[in-house]
């Protein structure tokens, strides 16, 4: 097994204003790992400590205690940064540059040496749907265009690890889908992606691992499949439901939802055989039976509300 791409061990960060005794704990004893090749969603409500964590990961801020490793190096180490593509939250670029000039500047900073590979800029701009705007000053870009350009600069230099802070922020639905498709492609290429986002249904489609933090504390971290669980409930769809059948289902705690031509029942997966036989005996036809998985959004809201209640 390869070494984790990101390691956070017992990281604590406290902000303290100059000339003030006021202290704000941004992160408290946070630990998690992201394996190479995984897409990890880093989730949390506003003010949870996501951007602080990412800033520590990138070497912009320093943890007060704990150990952080990125691709095996300390945060900020140029050997690690050679393999990282980064998109900051609400990022800003030099307005006087064009997209092409900006990408050339970033290419020079990658330290790969020599002139930029022919066609690389064009390919990147096509990838983020900015072709035709390469000679327009960034100051004249819309928010969505800047975000797309940010994604393009993060992809420059073919990084192994992409750290993306709100990559779909400011994008319209079509733009969000394009970015998610792009991330799915990167995942298929074996890249590691660490992204924070508030658009959970979309993130759920591509991520392997989830790390949830709230108020600077780790709430849950793990594989998405494990966290969501599978097969805890089943959804049984029948063509009709008699009064007897409804009584049987209700007695076994099933949730019943009547549609125009069918009835949907959701109940504990352990009862699926018994329920199917009992309902069959009441004379209804079974149309389908499927396991029901929770959504990431439901899980997130539940974990965060549970955590806040405990706090």
């Amino acid at each position: 097994m390869s070494a984790p791409a990101i390691e956070f061990h017992n990281v604590t960060k406290v902000y303290q204003r100059r000339f003030s005794s006021e202290r704000v704990a941004a992160l408290t004893d946070v630990s998690f790992e992201v394996a190479a090749g995984e897409v990890c969603a880093f989730l949390g409500p506003n003010g949870a400590g996501k951007t602080t964590s990412i800033s520590i990961l990138m070497g912009f801020l320093f943890a007060d205690s704990g150990d952080v490793r990125v691709i095996g190096y300390e945060p900020g180490d140029v050997r690690a940064k050679e393999h990282i593509g980064f998109l900051p939250e609400n990022f800003a670029f030099y307005k006087h540059l064009t997209a092409e000039e900006l990408l050339r500047l970033h290419w020079a900073l990658t330290g790969k040496g020599g002139p930029i590979v022919d066609g690389l800029i064009t390919r990147l701009l096509i990838k983020v749907k900015l072709q035709g705007y390469e000679h327009l000053k960034i100051g004249k870009y819309s928010r969505g265009m800047i975000q797309r350009l940010g994604v393009a600069q993060a992809l420059l230099g073919d990084p192994q690890l992409l750290v993306l802070d709100e990559p779909t922020s400011g994008l319209d639905p079509a733009g969000r889908k394009e970015v998610l498709d792009l991330l799915a492609t990167l995942k298929s290429q074996g890249k590691t992606v660490f992204l924070s986002s508030h658009v959970l249904p979309e993130v759920e489609q591509i991520c392997d691992r989830v790390v949830i933090i709230d108020r600077g504390h780790l709430v849950r971290a793990g594989q998405l499949g494990e966290l969501l669980g599978s097969g805890n409930c089943v959804e049984l769809t029948v063509d009709r439901l008699s009064a007897d059948g409804e009584a049987i289902a209700a007695a076994r705690g099933a949730a019943i939802e009547r549609g125009r031509n069918q009835v949907r029942l959701v109940f504990d997966a352990a009862l699926k055989r018994e329920m199917a036989e009992l309902l069959w005996s009441t004379g209804c036809d079974i149309i389908s039976m499927n396991p029901v998985k929770g959504t990431l959004e439901e899980l997130f809201l539940k974990l965060v509300s549970d955590y806040e209640r405990v706090e």
Partner: protein, 267 residues
């Protein structure tokens, strides 16, 4: 390569800065305003002896250039403070520092970008001094390199101090400190009339620590007439320039050290 890319980008940003445009507008105004007195000096000089006329015209040129040059020091300090702080404030530094760039490389690129701006300023100043002397009907006899190198070294000092200060504090405070220290250094200079206000040991100590750029003033060469041109030996030149470069280097190294451990969050 990385430092050069940052320096050129910084230079490009500075050339589009509104305050720089204001400085350049001021520069043009100085030329226009000084045309009348310089032409008047030329007329008066016709009634004087040659040496007297030359001294008068070059004295006026020197006074004007002292003013322009003083503005240059402020520009160097302000630009150096602004190029770092504006990156932090806008957040553009995050995308740059996510690249395999060391912090000192970033700071050096920013510093060199400011020096490029000051090269342009010094060249313009150099041209202005010759233009003013020509309008007064005289020639500047000083070696061109003194008029180019001395102000550059002086600006290198001020921008290095600003770079150091802005790694620790708000740019406005940094700029204010530069103003105060430059004024204090001129007050404490051995040639200053106000030097008696402090005990000699304190004055000498402060003078050694503060950026004492009196010796690096190119104006003293502008005022020199042809007959007095050889009064400065090469060792004096070397000492003055070495002092300036050393001061700038120490300030920059301190800035790099201070910047190494500071947060790069938006301020």
């Amino acid at each position: 390569m990385k430092v050069r890319a940052i320096a050129l980008n910084t230079f490009g940003s500075l050339l589009r800065n509104k305050l720089i445009v204001l400085f350049l507008a001021g520069f043009v105004c100085v030329v226009l305003l000084m045309m009348t007195p310089m032409l008047a000096a030329k007329t008066i000089a016709g009634t004087m002896e040659a040496g007297q006329a030359e001294g008068m015209v070059l004295g006026i040129v020197s006074a004007i250039m002292s003013l322009v040059s003083g503005f240059g020091s402020l520009l160097a300090g302000w630009a150096a403070a602004d190029v770092v702080s504006s990156e932090m404030k806008s957040g553009t530094i995050l995308a740059i520092m996510a690249r395999p760039v060391r912090r000192w490389e970033f700071l050096l690129g920013k510093y060199l970008g400011v020096q490029l701006l000051m090269v342009v300023y010094v060249l313009a100043m150099f041209a202005l001094s010759y233009l003013l002397a020509w309008m007064g009907g005289e020639k500047i006899h000083s070696a061109a390199w003194t008029l180019l190198l001395y102000p550059l070294v002086r600006y290198a000092i001020y921008s290095a101090i600003a770079t150091l200060l802005v790694t620790m504090m708000h740019p406005v405070v940094a700029f204010a400190i530069i103003l105060v220290t430059s004024v204090a250094a001129s007050i404490l200079a051995p040639s200053s009339a106000t030097r008696a206000i402090l005990p000699e040991w304190l004055r000498a100590g402060l003078y050694a620590v503060l950026p004492s750029t009196g010796l690096l003033s190119e104006a003293r060469f502008l005022a020199i007439t042809q007959s007095a041109l050889h009064s400065t030996s090469w060792t004096d030149h070397l000492t003055a320039i070495a002092y300036g470069l050393d001061y700038a280097l120490v300030c920059f190294l301190l800035a790099a050290w201070s910047f190494h451990k500071r947060s790069l969050s938006r301020v």
